[in-house]
Symmetry: C2
Subunit: 201 residues, 2 copies
Amino acid sequence: MPHSSAGPEIERLIALLSRLPGLGPRSARRAALHLIRKKEMLMVPLAAALGEAVDRIVTCHECGNIDVSDPCAICAAGGRNQNSICVVEQVGDLWALERAGAYRGRYHVLGGVLSALDGVRPEDLRIGRLVQRAKEAEITEVILALNANVDGQTTAHYIHDALKESGVQITSIARGVPVGGELDYLDDGTLSAALKARKLL
Amino acid sequence: MPHSSAGPEIERLIALLSRLPGLGPRSARRAALHLIRKKEMLMVPLAAALGEAVDRIVTCHECGNIDVSDPCAICAAGGRNQNSICVVEQVGDLWALERAGAYRGRYHVLGGVLSALDGVRPEDLRIGRLVQRAKEAEITEVILALNANVDGQTTAHYIHDALKESGVQITSIARGVPVGGELDYLDDGTLSAALKARKLL
């Protein structure tokens, strides 16, 4: 990255900030200056929040979610449906489903998807633990909420095979026209999927 | 910002990250997840770099630059031209000029520009100190490198008046066609300025 003529301490801060997704070298410089300008209001609390995150955030051994407790707040919550597990790729997907508020069961975060290109094998993902969990007596359904791309679907097929003998019902979230979607602007794949999955009115 | 269903510690980290320029709520969530995933490689060093910045970064009382020492490395450097002061609005502008490597004198960072709209008055900027510095025996030239917009030019005029009796030469960086600029794509203001400032070949 280009020299910013600041001291090595500021250079280092800029270099680290530029490694965050969404920030390049130029916006990292702007972010560093903003932090230095808002020292008490932003830099001090951000340093503290990061320090606390370093010390306290752990991965839930049960579902793979991240939280400050293990098991995580969702696994430990009493009021949730204990009969179904929703399988997602990443913690961000879990957050998205929770924001939507459409699901009140348990989760399982794989930590990625199978990918020949990136060399991700089944043993690199949290699949073994999922197979164990699916055998628990109260589990009746495993919902696959993986991305609708090649790697996501390859992973869905692999998990479907791995879970076959557990006897649980395996479902996948629906493909179709997104809410508010206009047909003219949708890609062919979505249109074909929506047409194939048509329902009786 | 929308609930991300992470614990309050992660929520707080996301909220702070979303206040950085260039990051919104969605990219702040991605940044937080990225930090948590790259804990040892990124989150730990970033927390340390921020903590060090909080403790060590100060504003140079001489020129307004930021550094870990006061006077800053540029003010303290022996090899630089001590006869001219280049006036800029923000530390980022100083960095830009240093990156370009086109100037080897001293600087003065105003900390903003006069703005009736934002209520920025002369006493809110580092103008008094500039007038003092311009009176130092070795200073022969003050170069105004302010942005080419209304507020920047208002500020340039104000400084020009404030420095009149110091007797130093006051110049402003040139306006014209940027290097590599094509006339067809330039705005009218730049074209007019370039034409007015034409030079004998």
